[in-house]
């Protein structure tokens, strides 16, 4: 129980400021990235009409997520943003599943990962909104329905980043805490594999999908 909430940090002085690096999430993120790049390379190395097993999995991901983007965005935008959506989902799913392997942990358990992904989605959505609608129409959307609603609309937009990030973080963090505590209370007998399957695989997949879908919706709300 002692290692609950303990974190290895690397603190680097940088022009009078201290830069803090959380080592474990960074290493785990790199592991996820390596697996994804390897997967992409192997799945697309021998493309054929009769696909191999890896190509099938890759095509499944791409087809489903391109379909998701098509439903929410119109044709031109969907073609532009579907690769991003696909990459986001695959990264999140693999991140959330990583915790079921002993000695590895989910990079999404650290608030910095979901928060930066949420910020990325926020910036992309707003840039897409400005590009499609033009700056004037984009700004005037904040003054609806009345001009004095501007601060609240602004807070509402910023709260979207907070809510999308904390939803993922809270679920993954909560799941890993429950697994840790229940394993400790039951001396790791019988229960932990089932908990890992439920919180790691099932909830992890759902939350990755929810995060991805909300990012798509935030983009589609901005461009309409």
């Amino acid at each position: 129980m002692g290692d609950l909430g303990r974190l290895h940090q690397l603190i680097v002085p940088f022009f009078g400021h201290n830069m803090t690096f959380n080592i474990e999430p960074i290493i785990m993120t790199w592991i996820v990235m390596t697996i994804l790049i390897l997967f992409g390379f192997l799945a697309s190395r021998k493309k054929s009409l009769l696909p191999g097993p890896l190509q099938v999995v890759g095509e499944l991901f791409v087809a489903q997520l391109y379909g998701l983007a098509d439903d929410a965005l119109d044709k031109e935008l969907s073609k532009k943003y579907a690769p991003l959506i696909c990459a986001l989902f695959m990264f999140l799913v693999l991140s959330n599943w990583l915790g079921i392997i002993p000695h590895l942990e989910e990079p999404t358990k650290d608030l910095n990962t979901p928060l930066s992904l949420g910020l990325m989605g926020f910036v992309i959505a707003h840039v897409a909104g400005i590009r499609v609608k033009g700056l004037k129409k984009y700004i005037s959307a904040y003054f609806e329905p009345m001009f004095f609603m501007m601060p609240l609309n602004l807070i509402g937009e910023l709260a979207k980043v907070v809510s999308i990030a904390f939803r993922l973080f809270g679920n993954i963090m909560g799941g890993s805490i429950i697994i840790l505590v229940v394993s400790y209370l039951t001396y790791s007998v019988i229960l932990p594999p089932f908990l890992n399957a439920f919180f790691g695989l099932f909830v992890g997949t759902i939350q990755a999908f929810v995060f991805t879908m909300l990012t798509v919706v935030y983009i589609s709300v901005q461009v309409k």
């Binding site: 509402g156 907070v162 809510s163 909560g174 799941g175 805490i177 505590v181 209370l185 919706v217 709300v221």
Partner: protein, 324 residues
């Protein structure tokens, strides 16, 4: 009998454990009872499917109970761990951990009873799609548990964070406020998310061809419904991790306690209200799949408006923490 600080720490641990399990038992019991009632009705309609319906009822009830089991874990930790820190802050921490988990389990418990009940009923109507219905029920109930998981996270952070060195005077109130914010804040979202998931199970049983858009919009609606619970979690994180300057006055601690109360209570209404919005949208998509895009857009705008009171509560809570 003298009341020294060790006694108070014990008192708080016992009271916190009692509150956690007592309140935590409310929601799941109501949800499970609702599921069983719907299962009975379903079997009376289609007795031939009683085996499948019975199995689904048990699985649904098991998931609805998980919020209560979280509360049981917290209660056990509070009752059987030796807390030997002797400060008023510890008293407040133990009490707040119990409050957060106990209140937080209510909404999710009631809420996840709805999809389980609707799935049982749907199976009596459309026995052929019982697999799809069970999957949808599991997904909906799992997302329903999110607010309870937020309350659990708050409780654990409270129990395992080292608060020594913080000034006693405003910290005790900040911690109580943190417990109340995520505990009360989880009630509405849990209930609302359950309404959405129930409607989606119902919709799939009525129109199995629309299963994919119904499940997708259900997830979206539930996610937006949880927003106010997330504001509650945010406020409790600020209250737990910000170090407040020591004070002898009563007003600053009360402001922090009020911030937690404000966010917690303010989150209940939007959670339930947004649940209603998403429920109708999901029902509509099951009836008329062609209108999915329009229904989703109106749902999102409606939820954003229903959420504005939750944003007012967030603004007032932040003002109470940082300005007053």
């Amino acid at each position: 009998m003298d009341f020294d600080i060790e006694t108070w720490v014990k008192v708080a641990a016992f009271a916190g454990g009692g509150i956690a399990m007592g309140f935590g038992a409310i929601g799941a019991a109501i949800g499970e009872g609702f599921t069983a009632a719907e299962a009975n009705e379903a079997i009376s309609r289609n007795p031939g499917e009683s085996g499948d319906i019975f199995k689904t009822m048990l699985v649904g009830q098991a998931i609805a109970e998980s919020a209560s089991i979280f509360a049981l874990v917290i209660a056990m930790i509070l009752l059987f761990t030796d807390f030997n820190a002797n400060s008023v802050v510890t008293v407040s921490v133990l009490f707040a951990a119990g409050l957060s988990m106990g209140l937080g389990a209510i909404g999710s418990g009631v809420g996840s009873g709805f999809p389980a009940g609707a799935a049982c009923k749907g199976m009596s109507r459309q026995p052929k799609i019982s697999g799809r219905l069970t999957t949808n029920m599991l997904i909906g109930s799992a997302v329903c548990q999110t607010p309870a998981i937020f309350a659990l996270v708050t409780s654990f952070i409270l129990l395992f964070t080292n608060f020594t060195g913080r000034p006693v005077s405003p910290t005790w109130a900040a911690i109580l406020g943190a417990g109340l914010a995520s505990g009360l804040g989880a009630i509405g979202s849990g209930l609302g998310g359950g309404l959405v998931a129930g409607a989606s199970c119902d919709g799939i049983s009525r129109q199995p061809l629309a299963a994919t858009p119904v499940t997708n919009v259900m997830l979206l609606g539930q996610a937006v419904t949880q927003t106010t619970a997330i504001y509650g979690l945010l406020v409790s994180f600020i209250l737990m991790f910000k170090t407040f300057p020591a004070t002898d006055l009563l007003a600053p601690p009360m402001a922090l306690l009020a911030a937690g109360l404000c966010m917690g209570i303010g989150a209940i209404g939007p959670g339930v209200g947004e649940g209603f919005t998403a429920r109708s949208a999901v029902e509509g998509i099951a009836k008329n799949e062609a209108a999915t895009a329009d229904l989703t857009r109106v749902m999102l705008v409606g939820q954003a408006v229903a959420e504005s009171t939750g944003i007012y509560a967030l603004v007032v809570a932040l003002v109470l923490i940082f300005v007053v």
